[in-house]
Symmetry: C2
Subunit: 227 residues, 2 copies
DNA sequence: CTGATGTATTTTGTATACAAGGATTGTACT
DNA sequence: AGTACAATCCTTGTATACAAAATACATCAG
């Protein structure tokens, strides 16, 4: 299987899952652009597989909302509109708040320790000024909280919603003047979870998303109007 | 296409979607029981189609969480455990509260009118003592609120989560002594949405789910122990 | 009688074949 | 030159074929 996209070759994952991950990644990174048609034979040739795994992968992308089906015309990459992003962010805001509250109740000792380390890792990442590293540290920290809820369904939903914003993941950390505030926000979340202060934790989670929203919406608008 | 399940024969829906809806319905109603294997050739014969649409339908069911894939062994109907239901209900509680809040801000005149009629229809349904009719009226009322949020992603997620509880849809309205309270709860939700009282509306939505949760958990426990 | 091994069957995973609907392009006619 | 119509090509939707893995079963040895 030669590739153009970067295909992860986990030897014994079914091809459909390899294709699914590959296409999803390509869509989320913007390698496949909104509105672009996903033609089965073309993709099959490109990825060196037959149409069958391609089709099955598309069915999953369809349900995930990354792809839009047009009857008798096939799949195309779903448009990203300001509306679709605010819709996603609105839901994520509620679910992130829920995660914070549940984490207060259910976080284990080990996870608390992880969270502590993640906070420090984030501070360290900020010092490097490396956006990729900062983004990764932020995701890491967030994941620990989500996992601490112990709610698998919630984990799955939040991860899916997060993915939708993947291509804007740098926007809200691009502004270095906000870095100190981000560290502060994380500290508040960490401390309120330790203190089991649900209200403060969920409020901080909401603020966190609100800030992301501002950055992402600003970016979308500038993409549309400017240049 | 002959059937055993009730297949909806929307003439120009792709077979995969017909199969998807059919299987989903069968799983949600309990016609296909948790743990039961979904064998492709068998289903293909039963539904009178080839394996291809069956497989594509299964891919979607997989992502919806109604089906579990076992490597090189195929699909089986996902288990319903108390944990999986509380997970779902926990998320739904937060999202229903969000729906109520957003509805306060965004509901249109026409939708308010619909909601009013739905409340009255629910009262009328309760008087008939017909559980099916009551359940339908309740769903109807709920749908109006969800739609009123104007958030398509939210609509999709809430509908999906609701589906997971489909087979318990009668449990929380079985107890006739609670009917009056249900009417009262609906009235509170309706009035607080009209008054744009977010706090009361979301609180009422949460109470509503909490009651469903009690009924459903009680049912699951009785299925497991006594039955 | 029990356990292990080899064979047969079943079932998935993948590829390909075939049919039907849409889109596109070219041509003829106004 | 522009529009309408027809032929062709392309793409999807569906069915089937083939291979490999897993399971079940039966036979044989201890």
């Amino acid at each position: 299987m030669q590739d153009d996209f970067n295909v992860q070759m986990n030897e014994f994952l079914p091809l459909r899952d390899v294709v699914f991950n590959t296409l999803r990644q390509a869509i989320l990174t913007g390698e496949l652009k909104p509105g672009e048609r996903l033609m089965e034979i073309h993709l099959a040739n490109k990825l060196g597989v037959s149409r069958t795994p391609i089709r099955e992968a598309i069915r999953k992308l369809e349900l995930e909302g990354l792809v839009t089906m047009i009857p008798r015309r096939g799949a195309e990459v779903a448009q990203i509109t300001e509306k679709s992003m605010t819709d996603v962010l609105e839901v994520r805001r509620a679910l992130d708040a829920l995660c914070a509250e549940l984490a207060c109740e259910r976080i284990t000792e080990a996870e608390t320790e992880q969270l502590h380390r993640a906070c420090e890792a984030f501070e360290a990442a900020v010092k490097t000024r490396d956006l990729k590293k900062i983004a990764r540290a932020d995701v890491q920290l967030h994941d620990i909280i989500v996992q601490a809820t112990g709610n698998q369904r919630l984990v799955q939903l939040v991860n899916n919603l997060s993915e939708q914003m993947y291509r804007y993941r740098f926007e809200y950390i691009k502004d270095a003047s906000q870095h100190q505030r981000l560290i502060e926000e994380h500290r508040i979340i960490y401390e309120s979870i330790v203190k089991k202060d649900r209200e403060t934790a969920s409020q901080a989670a909401r603020v966190h998303i609100d800030n992301q929203k501002k950055a992402i919406i600003a970016q979308i608008r500038s993409e549309k109007t400017g240049h």
